[in-house]
Assembly symmetry: C2
Homo-oligomer: 355 residues x 2
Amino acid sequence: MELTDRKKRVLRSIVDLYIRTAEPVGSKAIAEMPDMNYSSATIRNEMADLTAMGYLEQPHTSAGRVPSAAGYRLYVDELMADYRLSIDETRSINCAIEEKMQRVDKMVEKVARLVSQATDLPAISVASRRGGATVKRFDLILAGAGSFILVMMLSTDEVVNKLIKLPLRVEEADLKLLAAVLNATMTDLSADAFTPALMERVMASADSAASLVPVIVDFTADVLRRQNSTNMAVAGQARLLDQPEYRNIDKAQRVLTGLDEETLSGLPAVMQNASGTQVLVGPEHVAQELKDTSVVMTKFDIGDGLQGMIGVVGPTRMDYAKVTARLSYFAESLSKMFNKPEQPQLPEHTDIDPK
Amino acid sequence: MELTDRKKRVLRSIVDLYIRTAEPVGSKAIAEMPDMNYSSATIRNEMADLTAMGYLEQPHTSAGRVPSAAGYRLYVDELMADYRLSIDETRSINCAIEEKMQRVDKMVEKVARLVSQATDLPAISVASRRGGATVKRFDLILAGAGSFILVMMLSTDEVVNKLIKLPLRVEEADLKLLAAVLNATMTDLSADAFTPALMERVMASADSAASLVPVIVDFTADVLRRQNSTNMAVAGQARLLDQPEYRNIDKAQRVLTGLDEETLSGLPAVMQNASGTQVLVGPEHVAQELKDTSVVMTKFDIGDGLQGMIGVVGPTRMDYAKVTARLSYFAESLSKMFNKPEQPQLPEHTDIDPK
DNA sequence: GTTAGCACTCAATCTCTCTGAGTGCTAAGC
DNA sequence: GCTTAGCACTCAGAGAGATTGAGTGCTAAC
């Protein structure tokens, strides 16, 4: 059977209406729409065809039709109209973003909260690092009898440090020597180069300071490994319960259980090679728990070798056009914000962890 | 009317049973309990009295009784039996804790998740700093033409750093001078000492390096302020829906909305002066959204000037004895873990933020 | 190809009754 | 004077029909 233009128009109207009402859509409702100059019987025939083709489903005989996953897919890819953000919407998104974002983890949390607020749905926000970091330079600063500070400049232009306390005397001279050794042997190595063999080699060259080596090597490897880690936050889970499909507690619970950082950790991978805004409809999903939801995600650039991602989780019947529009605008604004010219007066980014 | 011993026994039995069943408790059920050698009629009289005294409530005439907030209060403070953890329980808590916890923010998240798992309820975990930090020492390391690294050792024994890039040449000599000035004027000052006046004083002494001062002063003030900040995580919100009282979506939604970091930020303050495990029953609450829940919280010591806190949010009818027991055990284990003798082989704590 | 008409289906809603758990009160018993 | 058996009363909740109405598929006429 062929998917005529009229069939597409009918399908589109059905999805639109279903998105608004969350109720199965009947032939009469479609026939009565302004641009639809056919009787309900005709629409009924078309609907029967669309059902046969797999774009619609019928909860039970005497109910209207509901879009199937394939129906949504078609809608998202071809049929849906662009949603234009109102000035009010852009303004409220903008001023939400304006606030300073300092640490990455806090930033990720805040972005998640903002996105959730802007879309009235649970939101995810991720910051992940591209590629492996290496150490560009080591410095050691004596800090007291048995303690010194290890400072590492990374290839990402970040600086990482650690106060190391040992139950033995540390001399200024040892540190000087050790720093030289470290800079000679351990710079420009990625995380997986930190093997026991390397450790031995470094210890051999370190001479009288050999006892300090293990702590440093372990720590360095740890930091590099951690550089590849991703930061993720979820916010606004409770908003899911605003959606009529989750008035059913068991459904709601299943989805809410799936809405934590651990279960969602597979999402960034899906976006890896994708660009622009991505819509995952129901069954295409990663996490089992989310099988009757949809996820809309989009990437953006944070700068400093970081890759940002924001996304929204909602019922399969969500207003894709609106959500996509808001998400894209959000992503664009965030990209701009993070990549705007640096102002020398202000710290451009912060490497602290107020433990 | 006097609260006789028998009345207390009846009340206790009612709360116990209600905690188990989540159903209003009738006189017959109490009368049939092993140690209760009275007829249901007698119990009925006692229940009528307890209702008059405000410890019980009646959903409707022909239903049983339900404990009121006052009833729970009395139960928690006086009546409830100690719950002994089974070996299995302690073991599973222990091995959950065993995993290494590295960064504070990650640690807080993980603890929240563990606590939630151990109690089957949504959990909160907080790490907050006691008292104001100061800088003990400044170091400046030249890192390139227009950039240098600022390293600060704090009174908390933490080390914080920042790579500063400026659109001007920086000389080794300037940095030496500046470091001396900073160490002379800006050490041992708490966050609120960082006024514009201080900035001017420092700039005056900094001589040729004066242009570097603003960035440094701002950053330092910022770090010190941030040192007082608290880290909070919430986990397992979805578990709330396991509880029969939250089969009602609207109730569930209200509470879930209240279960985010922002709304709960008032909780730590409540614990400020309290010690041991604290039970907040319903109306005594901070957040409006949580008015028909209870919160059980307990403090523990993380070391390094950090104060930990874990808590659980659940229906007013939660198994206080069990939750309290698990929480206390958890807190104790965490205290032990964080304060165990340092092992020189391993980094004892980490000050990085892999932005 | 389109549409009016009609018989059919079936979830949802409403009404009504019934059931039983639970109560309060009274009067008899220890 | 405390305890208890007994009884009348209340009322939420479950279950059984009956009713409604939105929606369908099919057919025959336009």
